[in-house]
Amino acid sequence: MRSIKGISVFIIIVALFALPIVVKDSYFLYLAILAGIFVILAQSLNVIVGYTGQMSFCHSAFFGVGAYTSALLTMNLKFSFWVALPCAMIAGLILGLLIGYPSLRLRGPYFAIVTVGCAEVVRSILYNWVNLTGGPMGLPNIPPPDPIALGNFITLSFDTRQSYYYLVLVFALFTQLIIVKVINSKAGRAFVAIREDEGFARSIGIDIMGYKILAFSISAIFAAMAGSLYAHYILFISPVSFTIMESINVILMVIVGGMGTIVGPIFGAILLTALPELMRVLSDYRMVLYGLVLMMVMIFLPGGLVAALKLSGSFLSRAFGRLPKGVSSVGS
């Protein structure tokens, strides 16, 4: 069972690496890169929303702070992208701790409302600190990541879509790896216990505040990393990209894909990045249909796409009787 999982993960990774060689369409690659960045965002949000059960609306703030930190460091202080990216992650961590310490004491809707406020405060700062952030005009001319030289002959540069695709892919895989590791650790078990019943978790000796802050910080660090990757890809950022709607968009990805599962947010992020584009032919009716699709998913698949996969898996194994067990446990 474990080996079937391992093999399928391996095949998917190989396929992802082969993708730009097979598909040359530049618009497709653009979408694939965006999807990769949103996979990082959705998976990091999943740690706090899906596994720890705290509905947070300030993911856009971490995303934005990561993007601006990285852009400003490379533009004003001439930092290399490879230094700016970790700096952006540290900025995300600091903001995460700053927001997390006071707000995680609150529960349920109260916590959610405070995070709405925090997202708005960060957006306002980006919008109004014109001297530093350029205000509503945003920051143009962000440099792409500097090339890295491997030995004397090979240089990896990231100025083409194809090369940036690989950069994002590597970071997305790195994020998955770390988050899977954390979820399977002692901390991961504590997160789930807090989600299921805080009072009970406390009664068996789990440090509620400590683990909530841990989950929130991890979520913030990776969101900031996604922000940095976004800034150095689009090469122009403005506060419009980091409004609370962006948070809601990422929350939708997590919920539509399947909260509290590893594969769910990945599916959700890819689907919700692709869906509006696929529906472009419908022009004005596009967002109406998008809304309808979301409603349908919530009504008929409250567990998200992963639940649907599991259902169809068990249906197939019942229908054919002898399907290997691993197939029905894709989502677990």
């Binding site: 590791k181 954390v182 399977n184 650790s185 002692k186 901390a187 078990r189 504590a190 789930v192 216990a193 299921e196 019943d197 009072g199 009970f200 978790a201 406390r202 009664s203 068996i204 000796g205 789990i206 440090d207 841990l214």
Partner: protein, 254 residues
């Protein structure tokens, strides 16, 4: 030798003294009953002992250590664990996963290892074996792969105790373990509490069912309006006029 010593324990909510200066001790290996009419402050005492509330006044000494004002996680690690009146477990998870979560405070890992490993002291398998032992002890082995929400109510109650046992306590606080149980389930619970005592774990239990209290407690503490009104053996408590008055209303006040 006393394992738990409570002196002048008080908790005020605004002007209301939910617990107003209670003293008692529990000796190692005893089963002690904490009884009293509704609103007497029994559950508040549990919440104070386990760090859910910080006492307004008073001192709690557990296992020769002053634990007054400690955080819950530290108290659990010290070996004092409670269950709830309304059964609380991780309902959407399998029974086994509940047990493994119960080991949380005993699994060790350095400050950073917590993010990488489930445990650095033992392997996942060794905890698995320990969990199986405890599940056998409480009679839940058959349910080990079921979701906690799908097992019968009395089994959920025993699961809550099993998870509490997984934290490896020296003393267990049980909040009405037999509420809503039929006679045979109650008998089963009484047997279980007896077996826990035989393992050397001290038990303090809140209970309304007098057959249970009189049947298994070596000593009984009676609270009323946040004050201790009596303490003694079941026979003494049964005859104590103040206790009878508290439960049935005294002649003077009538």
């Amino acid at each position: 030798m006393s394992v738990l010593k409570v002196s002048n324990l008080s908790k005020h909510f605004g002007g209301l003294a939910a617990v107003g200066g209670v003293d008692f001790t529990v000796n190692t290996g005893e089963i002690v009953g904490l009884i009293g009419p509704n609103g007497a402050g029994k559950t508040t005492v549990f919440n104070l002992l386990t760090g859910v509330y910080v006492p307004t006044r008073g001192k709690i000494t557990f296992d020769e250590v002053d634990i007054t004002g400690w955080k819950s996680q530290k108290i659990v690690k010290q070996g004092l664990v409670r269950t709830f009146q309304q059964t609380r477990v991780l309902f959407s998870l399998p029974v086994m996963e509940n047990m493994l979560t119960g080991f949380h405070c005993r699994t060790g890992s350095g400050n950073w290892g917590v993010l990488w490993k489930r445990d650095s002291k033992g392997t996942e398998e060794s905890w698995h074996d320990k969990a199986l032992k405890i599940l056998t002890f409480v009679g839940l082995l058959d349910f080990k792969d079921e979701l906690a929400q799908n097992i019968p109510q009395d089994a959920q109650r025993r699961l809550a105790i099993a998870v509490a046992l997984a934290t490896q306590p020296k003393m267990l606080l049980l909040d009405e373990p037999t509420v809503g149980m039929n006679p045979s389930e109650t008998q089963e619970m009484i047997r279980l509490i007896g077996a826990i005592q035989e393992k050397g774990i001290t038990v303090l239990l809140i209970e309304h069912d007098m057959r249970v209290v009189m049947g298994i407690c070596q000593r009984i503490i009676v609270l009323n309006y946040g004050l201790k009104i009596a303490e003694g053996s079941p026979q003494e408590i049964r005859r104590n006029p103040e206790v009878i008055a508290a439960y049935l209303g005294s002649e003077e006040s009538a």
